[in-house]
Symmetry: C2
Subunit: 322 residues, 2 copies
Amino acid sequence: MRIAVTDGIDVNAKKHLEEFGHTVSEKHYSNEELIGGCISEYDIVVIRSATKLTADVIKANTAKDSKLSLIIRAGVGVDNIDLPSASENSVLVCNTPSASTNAVVELTIGHLISSCRNISKGDRKMRNGVWAKKGLRGSELRGKNLGLLGYGRIARGVADIARSIGMKIHAYDPYVKSDQNGCMFHDSVESLFSSCTHVSIHCFLSDETRHLVDYDMISLMPQKGEDGIQCGNHIVNCARGGIIDEEGIFRAISNGQLTTASLDVFEVEPALKSNLLQLDGFQATPHIGASTNEAQSRIGHEIVSIVQSHSKGETPDSCLNR
Amino acid sequence: MRIAVTDGIDVNAKKHLEEFGHTVSEKHYSNEELIGGCISEYDIVVIRSATKLTADVIKANTAKDSKLSLIIRAGVGVDNIDLPSASENSVLVCNTPSASTNAVVELTIGHLISSCRNISKGDRKMRNGVWAKKGLRGSELRGKNLGLLGYGRIARGVADIARSIGMKIHAYDPYVKSDQNGCMFHDSVESLFSSCTHVSIHCFLSDETRHLVDYDMISLMPQKGEDGIQCGNHIVNCARGGIIDEEGIFRAISNGQLTTASLDVFEVEPALKSNLLQLDGFQATPHIGASTNEAQSRIGHEIVSIVQSHSKGETPDSCLNR
């Protein structure tokens, strides 16, 4: 099959696909090129988050004589793909749902400790010639309440590690109401935020979750841990940009309602003009949740497996619109 | 009793000491002032790492008419106190051995993830206007071998969390040869380094450990995880400066033998002129291992308890030279 890869692919996965007799073309296309129908000659397109397959793009690439029959999202979130339009035009959409889970889990824990302990800030100050030891008093996670907004695969992985650190796990998820690990489930997002000095976001971006975490929500957070220690409030988002209202976060950090915010994802990316980048209590990474050798290798394996299923006429397991 | 506090103390601890009728004087002294005998009029001196109580200083402050009978190190390491000289001059030395354990444990895990996932680097690049997503591919900890050099209280805390992340724990400690948690013990430091892509240092500074981790030792590290992933080599030191040969680290990062090094402690502090600070694979914090609200509160509690024991004529539990 002819496969267009628009946002990169693991080198071993490309090799395996070619060994199976497929043709792999690696090239990133502009929106204009996509609208022009540049991927209609391929059977399969493999994208990450940088390629937006809107209804118009899908329509333009599924016109008469088009070969496109499968979109593979190398990663999890498919908010950059118009699913109804894909279904309408008989294009299957698959993602690689579990391949990047552990990468995001570890990054979330890293952001949580790094922000509460001023690791990036301390490093930055030292590189700027300042031994800021006295100004870098942080707080510990042990004994604190961690609120997980969304309780899917990644959140549960974060919960396991956070529990070993000694945090108490709280969660809100409209679809999950109990688990076997003593997680405390809340009936509302407000209740979750009112109970937790630390919150990590693990839900999808949708109309329900857009700007769900805003200034007012953050104002509910208690500042003080159950151990009586004034640890401040801390937010991490390694899920999807847009769930957090970034202006609200800016205001909350500026007036001390929020001590730190760590974002790997932003409403508009690349997010280089964000006023958050001026704040000491802010920590940012440029959407690298799945950027590990291990995750890319696992994603590569899954892509090969999806392509092989599809080329045999089977419906791949991770198909989202069969 | 009259108590001199030279490097700061938790505000609640000071309040409690005063409520017990003690006098607390907070002032940092230069080496010249210490040699001049400025603390001889106090019964107790409370120090952190910034005050060096050398043999000369102890001698000068324990001459005729001196009142000094107890040195309290708010923290763990007593390499800044000449213990033989204290004993010889009938001054007890106590530390607060467990109060900062968890703070250092969490910082170690934070440094480990943050360096392997380029958190500080990503934050720095973004603040410099660069969306370095593609250059920030990191590696995961799960499935990798973590070597612990020294297996005391802090190392065991690190092991517990690292195990929950999915790391395999290896250790070298001349005084510990087994545990209940499946840690693999090595007979030599060389064997430890040969087995582990990730090493964290948790030993004391002594003549045996000074520059123990040098370029040659790092060259033994395998670069590749047991999962076959080329994850590079990674070192963390939140224990004591001087155990690592910083020139060796610089060379190892420069030529790719070491992927990242994260140091909270340095041979000479403040370490603002280190050439390591020019390297992207380096991550630094300015000796903030015990700098949490929680640890300072626990240290404060322990200081009050030591002072109360001493003032009743008892020998405090954490006395190192009774």
